[in-house]
């Protein structure tokens, strides 16, 4: 009987190779928790509660006039746009001559149970913007938001239009009337949002994480490891790069209960932002009040913010200059994947250059 015909458990050679592969896989997966990420030097310029505003250190003065203010999603760590050298959008912006600022929302604790999106937009972002104005000496900035951060950035610019010279959105869900599988899972009467936020003052990061993975469970729970097993046989495989991406995808952040509830009820279930009936601190949040140039970047294979949720913004804003860039890829891949360098970064870079 040849080794090809024998059962794997009777073939010591195959078992040995398989054992090696299993160890390599375990090392890659378990080591991802400590994968070095967010390495671009930065300085803290403002803080409030758990939020931190950082300015990325430039070796030379900025050559572009308008600073860029990065607004991140509430469910991700702050390093997602500065993953690792060579795969960092922040590094790209610095190379293009921009003064780059980033708000890290931090990790909420039980004391932040009442921290809602309204507070983040009306108490945190305006003060962070003021700190940016002071640090850079420039009155207006480009506000750039990614995913939920994009929705927050749009609300912020709608409420404080004078702050923004430009608004750039990356895969930002705005219209939830057709929010795909996520919309179905979080629908009123289906998703027990009240019980969840009553039980957990801080919603565990695994809740939105599992929700995202359920959008494509086979690829998320099996495909990741099948691909890793295949790639580990390739001597040119960049294990550190894989680990950084794995860390990004799996290192979730808890959601303050009030913010989570507001996100699900007012945005997903009631679609208040796109319908123009969202209010924050008694003020209407009207996207039509955004008059600065807008660039909306959407991904063709985005399951987290599917195309119907991202496509309306250019029609809803009051800007005369509102354009859209559709990038081939998924929600994460377009920002840091190999294609990001070829597609997204140059597109955004040239748009920002033209609107400086």
């Amino acid at each position: 009987m040849t080794s090809g015909q024998s059962a794997p458990w009777l073939d010591p050679e195959a078992l040995w190779a398989s054992n090696d592969r299993a160890l390599e896989m375990a090392r890659a997966v378990l080591g991802s928790a400590d994968a070095p990420v967010g390495l671009t030097p930065k300085e803290l310029i403002w803080r409030k509660n758990k939020a931190r505003l950082y300015r990325y250190v430039r070796s030379e003065p900025a050559t572009q006039r308008t600073p860029v203010f990065l607004v991140l999603p509430l469910i991700n760590r702050a390093y997602i746009l500065d993953l690792r050298p060579g795969a960092s959008f922040v590094e790209f912006l610095l190379g293009e001559g921009f003064d780059v600022f980033l708000i890290d929302w931090g990790t909420p604790g039980d004391e932040d149970r009442a921290l809602d999106i309204t507070t983040l937009i009306t108490r945190y972002l305006p003060r962070a913007a003021k700190a940016i104005r002071r640090a850079s000496g420039v009155e207006q900035m480009t506000v750039l938001g990614y995913c939920i951060g994009g929705a927050l950035a749009a609300c912020f610019v709608a409420l404080y239009p004078k702050i923004a010279r430009n608004l750039v959105l990356f895969t930002a869900p705005i219209d939830f009337s057709d929010a795909g599988q996520f919309g179905a899972l979080t629908a009123r009467g289906v998703f027990p949002v009240d019980s969840l936020t009553d039980t957990f003052p801080i919603v565990p990061g695994q809740v939105p994480d599992i929700g995202s993975k359920l959008l494509n469970p086979v690829a998320s729970y099996l495909g990741t490891y099948a691909r890793l097993s295949e790639k580990l046989g390739d001597p040119g495989f960049d294990v550190a790069g894989w680990q950084a991406m794995y860390r990004w995808v799996n290192e979730s952040v808890p959601f303050a209960g009030a913010a989570f509830r507001q996100w699900i009820v007012e945005f997903y279930q009631e679609n208040r932002l796109a319908r123009g009936v969202l209010e924050m601190d008694g003020r209407p949040v009207r996207l039509a009040d955004i008059h600065c140039p807008v660039l909306n970047v959407a991904a063709t294979k985005d399951q987290i913010a599917p195309r119907p949720t991202t496509s309306v913004i250019t029609n809803l804003v009051g800007s005369a200059d509102a354009s859209e860039a559709i990038i081939e890829g998924g929600h994460v891949g377009i920002v840091v994947g190999r294609k990001a360098k070829a597609d997204l970064w140059p597109t955004v870079g040239s748009w920002l250059n033209a609107h400086d």
Binding site: D112, A219, S229
Partner: protein
């Protein structure tokens, strides 16, 4: 890496057929092939099942049941800690909330000072004589 070191240990006379035969008996390789062969079918089956309204409803009910159990555990723990005079998570969170509230008040005062500073710096309109 496993596959690489395995390949290196083999002599130059190893045929591609033998390698393929070895790979076909590698449990990992078999698992990967099983995944690749069935990935589309599994995805379609799951998408079909998860796309139905019943899936959302049942997952919502399941979550609600788990939450009820979790809430019972939390409530019991709180009662126990209160009985033995130990601060609960809520007690500690309340202290944290007070600190966060004080920080917000300080921020509001700083905002007011900024407004005053700005008003002072702004050139006042000349009085008409």
């Amino acid at each position: 890496m496993a596959t690489k070191s395995k390949t290196n240990s083999e002599g130059p006379g190893t045929s591609a057929g033998a390698e393929s035969a070895r790979q076909s008996s590698d449990p990992f390789e078999m698992w990967r092939q099983l995944y690749e062969t069935n990935e589309r079918a599994w995805t379609q089956a799951l998408e079909g099942a998860m796309g139905r309204p019943e899936f959302g409803e049942s997952s919502g009910k399941m979550l609600e049941t788990m939450l009820a159990a979790q809430k019972a555990v939390r409530d019991n723990m709180r009662t126990y800690l209160e009985t033995i005079n130990v601060p609960t998570r809520e007690d500690i969170a309340r202290v944290g909330e007070l600190i966060v509230g004080i920080e917000e008040k300080i921020d509001q005062l700083a905002d007011r000072l900024d407004d005053i500073e700005e008003a002072v710096r702004r050139p006042s309109p000349k009085r008409a004589k």
